[in-house]
C-alpha cells in the first residue's frame, strides 16, 4: 500500500508537467494556423486599402499608383460641387433609413403575432415559408420582380382585370421605383429578421405570464406589460447597430432593379461608384466618392457599437 502511493506521486507530476509543456508550448503552431488567413487578408484587404491614395491622384493605369500625378482634393471638390452627388447621397440615405425602420417595425409585429400561434406545426411551417426569400439572391429576385411587375406581368394583369387600373410602371417610374425597392426589401428580409425577436420571446420567464394570469390580465394587457417591455433591449441593440448601415442602401438590390430612366430617384452612391469607376474608367473620382462613403460609415459603425455597448452592454466578442 505504502509503496503504491509513493510510486503514484512522481507519475502524477510527470503527467502534469507534460500537460503544461504541450498546451503552453507550440505557440508556433498557433501562429502557423492563423497564417493563411493573415496572408489572404493582407493581400485582399490591406493592399487595396493602400490603393485609396488614388483618390488624391489622377490615376492612369500605365503609370500605376507610384507614378500617377498628385492632385490633392480635386476629386472631392468636384464631388461636393456636383448637384447629382447630393441627389444620390439623399437617395442612399432615404433608402437605407426607410429600410432600417421598416425592417425593425414589421418583423417586430410579425414576431408578436407569430408568438400567439399555439399550433407548433403551423408555426414552424409559417417560419419555413417566410425565411426562404432571405436565401435567394437579388439576381433571382430581380428576375422574378421584373417578370412580375412588367406590363404583362401578373401584378399589372391583376390590377387591370380586378380593379380596372392602368398598368403601373413599377420599375420605370421614379416614385413607384422607390416603393418597389422598399417593399421588395421587406419581402425578402422581414421573415429572417423575426428570428432575433423570436429568440428573445422564447427567453421571457413564463412565471411573469402566470402571475399576470392570476391577477386577471387579458392577453392584450400581458402583451403590453410583459412581452413588449421584454423586447425593448433587443430593439435598442438592433436599432443602434443599424446606425452603421445608414449609408448602405443595398447595392445588389438597386443594381439589379434600376435603369437609366429612374437614376434621379433610384441611383445610390454604390451604383454611381460602379458606373463612374468600372464603366467610365474614372478610377480616381470613383475611389474618392467611395472613400467619402467609407469614412462616414466607419464613424457610424464605431459610434453605433460604442452606443450599443454603453446602452445595452452588447459586444461582438
Amino acid at each position: 500500500m505504502d509503496a503504491n502511493t509513493v510510486q503514484q506521486v512522481p507519475l502524477k507530476t510527470a503527467a502534469r508537467a507534460k500537460k503544461k509543456q504541450s498546451s503552453y508550448k507550440q505557440p508556433w503552431m498557433l501562429h502557423l494556423m492563423v497564417l493563411p488567413a493573415v496572408l489572404l487578408v493582407f493581400v485582399f484587404s490591406y493592399l487595396p486599402m493602400s490603393g485609396i491614395v488614388m483618390a488624391f491622384q489622377d490615376y492612369k493605369s500605365a503609370l500605376g499608383i507610384t507614378g500617377s500625378p498628385w492632385v490633392g482634393l480635386k476629386h472631392f471638390r468636384y464631388m461636393f460641387e456636383n448637384e447629382y452627388f447630393l441627389q444620390i447621397t439623399w437617395n442612399t440615405l432615404f433608402f437605407a433609413c426607410t429600410k432600417i425602420v421598416m425592417n425593425l417595425v414589421i418583423p417586430f409585429i410579425f414576431a408578436l403575432l407569430l408568438n400567439e400561434v399555439r399550433n407548433t406545426g403551423l408555426k414552424r411551417s409559417i417560419q419555413t415559408l417566410v425565411y426562404l426569400p432571405h436565401f435567394l439572391s437579388w439576381v433571382i429576385l430581380a428576375g422574378i420582380l421584373i417578370d412580375l411587375l412588367g406590363q404583362t406581368g401578373l401584378v399589372n394583369q391583376m390590377l387591370s382585370h380586378v380593379f380596372g387600373i392602368k398598368p403601373i410602371f413599377f420599375l420605370g417610374d421614379g416614385n413607384w421605383f422607390r416603393f418597389t425597392i422598399i417593399f421588395s426589401d421587406v419581402w425578402k428580409e422581414f421573415g429572417f429578421n423575426t428570428i432575433v425577436f423570436l429568440a428573445a420571446l422564447a427567453g421571457i420567464n413564463p412565471a411573469l405570464y402566470e402571475a399576470a394570469e392570476v391577477d386577471g390580465a387579458s392577453r392584450l394587457k400581458q402583451s403590453f406589460h410583459i412581452t413588449i417591455p421584454s423586447l425593448v433591449p433587443v430593439i435598442v441593440v438592433i436599432g443602434t447597430l443599424a446606425l452603421g448601415n445608414v449609408m448602405n442602401a443595398n447595392f445588389d438590390q438597386v443594381f439589379n432593379l434600376y435603369s437609366p430612366l429612374i437614376y434621379q430617384q433610384g441611383d445610390i452612391i454604390d451604383t454611381f461608384v460602379y458606373r463612374q469607376g468600372l464603366l467610365s474608367g474614372q478610377f480616381s473620382f470613383a475611389t474618392a466618392v467611395n472613400l467619402f462613403k467609407s469614412m462616414i460609415s466607419l464613424i457610424l459603425i464605431v459610434t453605433s457599437y460604442r452606443l450599443a455597448y454603453r446602452v445595452a452592454g452588447y459586444r461582438i466578442f
Binding site: 487595396p48 409559417i126 433571382i140
Partner: protein, 290 residues
C-alpha cells in the same frame, strides 16, 4: 384563462389565417414563375398564366439545358461553390481555433484579432480591389472568384465564440496523450462543433452560389462566367435594354427566362431544409449573447 375567452379565440382564428396567407404570399411569386416556365410561349407572353400552367410543356427547360453557355456557367458555379467553400472553411476554422485560445496560451491573439476586425470596419473599396485582381493577373480565372472573399471575419468570430464553449478538459486530455494543437483541432474541436461548422459551411455555399458581381467584373470570357452572373446578364441586363429594338430580337422568350431563374433558385431550395435546421442556432450565436 385568456385561451378560453371568446375574443381571444376570434383573434386566434384571424391571426392564424392572416399569418398563413402572408407566408404563402411570400412564395407565390416564385410559384407563379414556375408555372410560367412550364407553359407554352404564347399564353406566357400574353400574361395569361397565373397559378396553373397553360399548355403544359417542358420546352423551356429543354432549351435552357441545350444552351452551351448555360451549361458551362452551371459548371463554373458548382466548381466555385465546392472548392471555394472547402478552402474557406479550412482557412477560417483553423484561424478561429488559434484565436479561441486565451492570451495566456497564445499571446499574440488579441493583436491578430484586431488585425482581422479592422478589415470589417474599413475596406479599400471597389476600384482598388478591381485593380489588385487585375495586377495579380487573376482576371478570368476561378481564383478571382474564390480568393478575395475567402477569409470572412464575421464567420471567424462566430467560430471563435463557438470554440470557446468547448470544455477545456477535452483538449487537456488530448494534450496529455501527446496531441498537438493541429491534432486537437482535427480530432476534438471539429467533431464537437460540427453543427456550427455545418451552418457556416452552408451559408458560405449559399453565398458562393448567389455571388454574381465578382463574376461580372472579373470574368471576361463567357464560358468562365458563373451561373449567377450569367443570369444577371441574360435576365436583368437584357430587360434594361428592352427599349432598344435590336435587343428584343435577341431576347429569350419569357418562359425560357423563367426556367433559368427557377433552375438558379433550385439548389438553394434544395439545401434550404438543412439550412433552416441549423441557421437559427447560427444566427443566435452571433446576435444574442450572454
Amino acid at each position: 384563462m385568456y385561451h378560453k375567452t371568446l375574443s381571444y379565440r376570434i383573434f386566434t382564428i384571424f391571426n392564424n389565417v392572416l399569418l398563413t396567407a402572408l407566408s404563402i404570399a411570400c412564395l407565390l411569386p416564385l410559384f407563379h414563375l414556375l408555372m410560367v416556365s412550364m407553359s407554352s410561349t404564347a399564353p406566357a407572353n400574353a400574361g395569361l398564366v397565373t397559378f396553373w400552367p397553360i399548355g403544359f410543356t417542358m420546352e423551356a427547360y429543354a432549351k435552357t439545358f441545350n444552351n452551351a453557355n448555360f451549361l458551362s456557367s452551371l459548371g463554373v458555379s458548382v466548381q466555385r461553390t465546392v472548392i471555394g467553400t472547402a478552402l474557406a472553411m479550412f482557412v477560417n476554422a483553423i484561424a478561429a481555433y488559434a484565436l479561441s485560445k486565451n492570451t495566456r496560451i497564445f499571446r499574440a491573439r488579441n493583436a491578430y484579432l484586431w488585425y482581422f476586425v479592422v478589415t470589417m470596419l474599413f475596406t479599400g473599396g471597389l476600384i482598388p480591389n478591381y485593380i489588385l485582381v487585375l495586377k495579380l493577373g487573376l482576371m478570368d480565372t476561378l481564383l478571382a472568384l474564390i480568393l478575395p472573399g475567402m477569409v470572412t471575419v464575421y464567420n471567424i468570430i462566430l467560430l471563435v465564440n463557438f470554440f470557446r464553449t468547448v470544455p477545456a478538459e477535452l483538449e487537456e486530455a488530448a494534450f496529455i496523450d501527446g496531441a498537438g494543437h493541429f491534432r486537437s483541432f482535427v480530432s476534438i474541436y471539429l467533431p464537437v462543433s460540427l453543427p456550427a461548422i455545418a451552418t457556416i459551411a452552408l451559408f458560405t455555399m449559399v453565398g458562393h452560389w448567389n455571388a454574381y458581381f465578382d463574376g461580372l467584373i472579373y470574368i471576361k470570357e463567357s464560358k468562365n462566367l458563373p451561373l449567377a452572373s450569367f443570369m444577371q446578364t441574360v435576365i436583368v441586363q437584357a430587360d434594361m435594354t428592352k427599349f432598344d429594338p435590336t435587343m428584343v430580337a435577341n431576347m429569350s422568350p419569357r418562359t425560357v427566362r423563367a426556367s433559368q431563374i427557377f433552375i438558379g433558385a433550385l439548389p438553394i431550395l434544395a439545401v434550404y431544409p438543412f439550412l433552416q435546421r441549423f441557421f437559427v442556432k447560427g444566427v443566435i450565436i452571433g446576435a444574442v449573447k450572454e
